[in-house]
């Protein structure tokens, strides 16, 4: 009977379940971290009533949102209105499916064959991430359009135009790393970063591609519509941009999609530039702890930027993306190509 259940298949299903739940918990954790960090930056304490240090605050928020009424404007296109947050969330989760977060594990000998700690590994993993993030634009465009309200439409169009513009620099930063790593598979890129120079400095690509890292993080922040590039959803400008007309769980889905996009950008940046699950002092099968630490550092950086920097105006934002970031990314690509050819 047990031979009918393939243990590798069960292990994969368990892995998918674990990754999915970790992502959902990560978005809940991000809600808490954002409010706490924001509070301490603003010299106050933040949520401290629900649970120790306010850690259960996201769950209280979710319970409140679930009990709210799910409104729909009458003139809105019903199907598109309903499916827009689903597209946003689905693409946010799907982009994480090719990110490796550890080496193989046999679950302390329970499995006969080691299972790699990722949902799947395709040999075009970087392109898959790029493709799935391009699909995420539709959630925002459809949300803005189908709400049939001028705030939503303008917010949706601005937001998607911003995402498309910064996708170019995003792709070029990815291309530079691919040139250095000579592979499109994220797992191979991380494995290429193992080892140390002079026994002290790890061979991470952030030291080989510092400008590429900066370009990637800037484009990633702009892609996820976070400050300082969050003009399309700024409260003072457009009520709430493309998700003005959404309430209750649909709104929660958009929020979750935004946080999970942040987690994905941070996770991909960790794999590409910061050495993924590699790190000193821990055995390699505990590499996922290092992965989590690095992703948390990048997420803290995200939140810190939001509450420290002022917001770009929309035309300043687009000018920055096209006139400064894109030429910088192209120059980075050319310089990387020259170095790869020169140094072999």
């Amino acid at each position: 009977m047990l031979s009918l259940i393939d243990p590798a298949l069960v292990a994969h299903l368990v892995l998918i379940f674990v990754v999915f739940n970790c992502l959902v918990l990560a978005s809940a954790f991000m809600v808490w971290m954002e409010r706490k960090v924001c509070a301490y930056i603003q010299d106050r304490e933040g949520p401290n009533r629900v649970g120790p240090e306010g850690l259960l605050q996201p769950f209280a928020d979710v319970i409140k949102l679930v009990f709210k009424e799910d409104l729909r404007p009458k003139a809105a296109d019903a199907f598109l209105f309903m499916i827009a947050p689903v597209i946003s969330t689905a693409t946010a989760f799907a982009a994480f499916s090719v990110v490796p977060f550890g080496t193989e594990t046999t679950l302390f000998g329970l499995l006969s064959e080691p299972v790699r700690l990722e949902v799947t590994d395709v040999n075009v993993a970087v392109l898959v991430i790029f493709a799935v993030t391009s699909m995420g634009i539709y959630g925002i465009v459809l949300a803005g359009w189908s709400s049939n309200s001028k705030y939503s439409l303008i917010g949706g169009l601005r937001s998607s135009a911003q995402m498309i513009s910064y996708e170019l620099s995003y792709g070029l930063a990815l291309a530079s790393v691919i040139m250095v790593a000579n592979s499109l598979s994220l797992r191979e890129i991380v494995v290429n970063q193992s080892g140390y120079w002079w026994y002290v400095i790890p061979k991470w690509y952030v030291f080989l591609q510092p400008l590429g890292f900066l370009i990637y993080m800037t484009a990633g922040v702009a892609e996820t519509n976070r400050a300082p590039f969050d003009f399309p959803e700024a409260e003072q400008e457009l009520v709430a941009g493309y998700h003005t007309e959404y309430s209750s769980m649909s709104f929660a889905l958009f929020f979750m999609a935004e946080y999970i996009n942040m987690v994905t950008v941070s996770a991909v940046a960790t794999s590409l530039f910061l050495g993924g699950w590699l790190g000193p002092l821990l055995p390699s099968w505990l590499g996922w702890i290092w992965f989590m630490i690095k992703v948390l550092l990048l997420l803290f950086f995200y939140v810190w930027m939001r509450w420290t920097l002022p917001r770009y105006r929309y035309d300043q934002l687009m000018e920055f993306g096209w006139k400064w970031l894109l030429p910088a990314a192209v120059l980075n690509l050319i310089a990387t190509a020259a170095m790869v050819i020169w140094l072999g």
Partner: protein, 172 residues
């Protein structure tokens, strides 16, 4: 397993394409075409061409369709339009039907001339097709000229699109 996947993906592609030409609302046509592109990408994966699948999603579903969507929203083209052409007379209709039957008959005859052609299962050939490195090296060596000309083509079309659709210049 592959047979089931092929029939499902082919069915989705054909149904979505029928929806594209059959829907009154151009917004829904664009959405259905995106679904069709997803089905095409699945077919490319079945054909051991992951690079084509991913570039299909990136270029077609991620960029071209967003362009279409923006134009549909800009021109407010979400109202109904005529589906039956009003200016086709009975003689043109008969000619059209006759030509379509001729075309489909010719395609069917051409397909019968091929015979049953199975795909090779040689793992070496498969790995050389699906390897992005191989595609890249062939693209940049054998087809380098076409590649460079394509980049000039894109530049020209970009400039052309901006000029044609740009704001009408004020009369001096």
């Amino acid at each position: 397993m592959q047979v089931i996947a092929f029939y499902i993906l082919a069915g989705v592609a054909v149904l979505a394409s029928l929806g594209v030409i059959g829907q009154r609302n151009p917004m829904h046509s664009v959405m259905l075409l995106i679904v069709a592109f997803g089905a095409f990408a699945g077919l490319y994966i079945l054909l051991d061409a992951p690079f084509s699948a991913v570039t299909q999603i990136i270029i077609y579903a991620g960029a071209i369709m967003v362009l279409f969507l923006f134009v549909v929203m800009l021109l407010n083209a979400h109202t109904e339009d005529d589906m039956v052409p009003a200016t086709i007379g009975p003689r043109t209709l008969k000619m059209g039907v006759l030509l379509s039957i001729l075309l489909s008959g010719e395609m069917a005859w051409a397909l019968t001339q091929i015979g049953q052609s199975a795909f090779s299962t040689d793992p070496g050939a498969i790995s050389s097709i699906s390897s992005v490195g191989h595609i890249g090296s062939v693209l940049y060596s054998t087809h380098a000229f076409a590649f460079e000309v394509t980049s000039i083509l894109i530049l020209v079309s970009m400039v052309g699109a901006v000029v044609i659709a740009g704001r009408p210049r004020r009369e001096r």
